[in-house]
Amino acid sequence: MKILIIEDDRSLCEVIQQSLEKERYIIETAADFNSAAMKTAIYKYDCILLDVMLPDGSGLELLKKIKAENLQENIIIISAKDSLDDKLSGLNTGADDYLPKPFHLAELNARIRSVVRRNSGGQNHIVFGNIKLQPNNFQVFINEKLLELNRKEFDVLHFFINRPNRLLNKEIIAEGVWGDSVDQADNFDFIYSQIKNLRKKLQTAGATAEIKAIYGIGYKFIEL
């Protein structure tokens, strides 16, 4: 899969590139409006990460241009301006997702996967090991056998299955599953108890993946 990163900050561009290359994507980069416009005109990408503020133009303008040429790329806007206006006009112009800076690489990865999956059509489930998760009807199958999960357990599994093989600390998990209201929590026992139950259920059902605790920092979803 080929991804174009349009980002003027070299350091950030480099980290994103390294992180995505680890996922075995083919990465191209562009640091300004003109080179980005040229690349999108010549090549075809599966996904474009687009920074809104570019030194010689607005990312939103580029987005309009790409959409006007009726290119079928998946576009995720990454912006330092976490503003609703930008988000709305971006999504209205045809962006597939909007990710405010600063973000987690794991989060970016998850967004790329879900955008590509959404737009590739047909496949509306996520598979990891022998686990199959269907986001639209909140069902999880292990070896094609339905696994009963409560709402929070499903959310936690959904969060992990979108971010496999990544070390996720408790804060990220809490924020991803419980939302912004957790930001001042001083105790993450509530995550621990949900994950404990989920692990037990996965194990009993014979899943070939597990949520592994890492040194009390967080967890990693890995295939056995």
């Binding site: 950030l12 980290v15 330092a80 600063p102 929590a185 040194y215």
Partner: protein, 424 residues
């Protein structure tokens, strides 16, 4: 005390004092003049009698003119030597016609005739008329003072009201003025009074300067926060990549995780500051009808789960439907910040009640000490410095309330914190 009361009471005091002094002086001058006239008259009268008497003519009988009277009697030489030659005095005289005594002004003199006999002559004129005159003068002066005072106050009142209009207009403008609100232009006036012109100019330029500084400050916070996003993203993502590396020793992973934690805190802080500046810039425009009863129930479910370890007794008391037409994001932020605040700052096993009435929301939770009402809504104020408290939650709450003209109050009663939001 208003300016008009102050001015009018001063006018009243000074004017009354000055007029009183003037009235007293006026009265004595007039009365003195009257007495002098009387005395002159008495002297002339006495002189006539003496002349007539010494010429041997008939003296007009006393009773002809009832107002004037005289007594003429012969005295011994010795008596004449002991008595003063001439003097004026007040005395009670008997008036046979009226058969009563009346106060009178008397002139007493001693004279001798050609045959060496001495006489004592007393001529008197009743002072009743003088008393009447006194009364007339006093009442006339009093009426004059009262009328003058009324006219003065009346005229002053109207002049004051008309000429002070620009001042009151300015005060009214100031009452409604809040810094940073675009629609509040500088005040305008069409006065030709130079003091007011200068005052308006001073206020206008002061306001413009303040607005500019305020705008700069807002811009600075906004820009600084924005500019921080990218470097923060780079730091965070590099640490993340480091953490994902295999075969990293445990203690190093722990250290990196701690650094990442701190960076997350900076990111959170930065985001919150941006959020605050967006609220202040009124960038949340879309509004919908929000039912706070449902909103509080929804948000509290998650928060309760997060703070379950504190074992706080939480209850929502629905006495009415609290509904507002406002932005969804801001409504959620308002509620979640107040709920979080209470959960964070309640001690373990404490209580937390949310009471919803149709016109107000009350958040009541147990606490140890009263918070400082003055600073509690200020940015970065945190009592007892909780490690995970940003010190911005209540500042956000206040900002949102201000945006929607909601009244927020804090009180500490019976070991409970009360946060009340009132819809006026």
């Amino acid at each position: 005390m208003t300016l008009s009361t102050k001015i009018f009471s001063q006018i009243l005091v000074f004017f009354t004092a000055i007029m009183s002094v003037w009235a007293v002086v006026f009265y004595f001058v007039i009365m003195n003049e009257v007495r002098d006239e009387t005395d002159d008259y008495l002297q002339i009268y006495a002189q006539q009698i003496i002349t007539l008497h010494n010429a041997g003519s008939d003296i007009p009988p006393q009773k002809v003119v009832s107002n004037n009277s005289y007594v003429l009697r012969q005295i011994s030489q010795k008596e004449a030597q002991n008595l003063p030659h001439a003097r004026f005095f007040e005395e009670e005289i008997y008036i046979p016609v009226k058969n009563e005594t009346e106060p009178a002004r008397t002139y007493q003199t001693i004279f001798g005739d050609t045959e060496g006999r001495f006489y004592l002559l007393k001529v008197s004129v009743p002072t009743v008329e003088t008393q009447e005159l006194q009364f007339s003068i006093i009442s006339a002066i009093s009426i004059l003072i009262v009328i003058l005072l009324m006219v003065l106050l009346f005229v002053n009142y109207f002049v004051f009201r008309r000429e002070m209009k620009p001042l009151y207009a300015l005060l009214k403008w100031f009452r409604n003025y809040t810094i940073g609100q675009k629609e509040a232009q500088t005040p305008e006036t069409h006065t030709n009074i130079s003091e007011f012109k200068h005052l308006y100019e001073a206020v206008s330029s002061g306001v413009k300067k303040n607005e500019a500084i305020f705008e700069q400050q807002k811009q600075f916070i906004n820009n600084a926060s924005h500019e921080l996003q990218t470097p923060l993203a780079v730091c965070k993502n590099r640490l993340e990549m480091l953490l994902d590396k295999e075969n990293l020793p445990e203690n190093e992973v722990m250290e990196i995780a701690k650094i990442e934690n701190q960076i997350d805190k900076i990111i959170k802080l930065n985001k919150t500051l941006l959020f605050l500046s967006k609220i202040d810039n009124q960038q949340f425009i879309e509004k919908v009808e929000i039912n706070f009863n449902d909103l509080i129930t929804d948000i509290s479910a998650d928060i309760q789960e997060i703070y379950a370890h504190k074992n706080i007794h939480f209850e929502i008391e629905n006495n009415g439907i609290f509904q507002l037409y406002m932005n969804e994001i801001l409504a959620a932020s308002l509620v979640s910040n107040l709920l979080k605040n209470a959960f964070i700052h309640s001690f373990d096993n404490g209580i937390f009640f949310v009471i919803i009435n149709s016109d107000k929301l009350v958040f009541c939770n147990s606490g140890k000490d009263s918070l400082d009402k003055e600073f509690i809504f200020k940015r970065f104020y945190s009592a007892g410095s909780k490690e995970n408290s940003s010190g911005l939650g209540l500042a956000i709450v206040e900002s949102i309330c201000k945006n929607y003209s909601l009244k927020i109050d804090y009180e500490f009663k019976n070991s409970n914190h009360f946060f009340t939001i009132q819809n006026p």
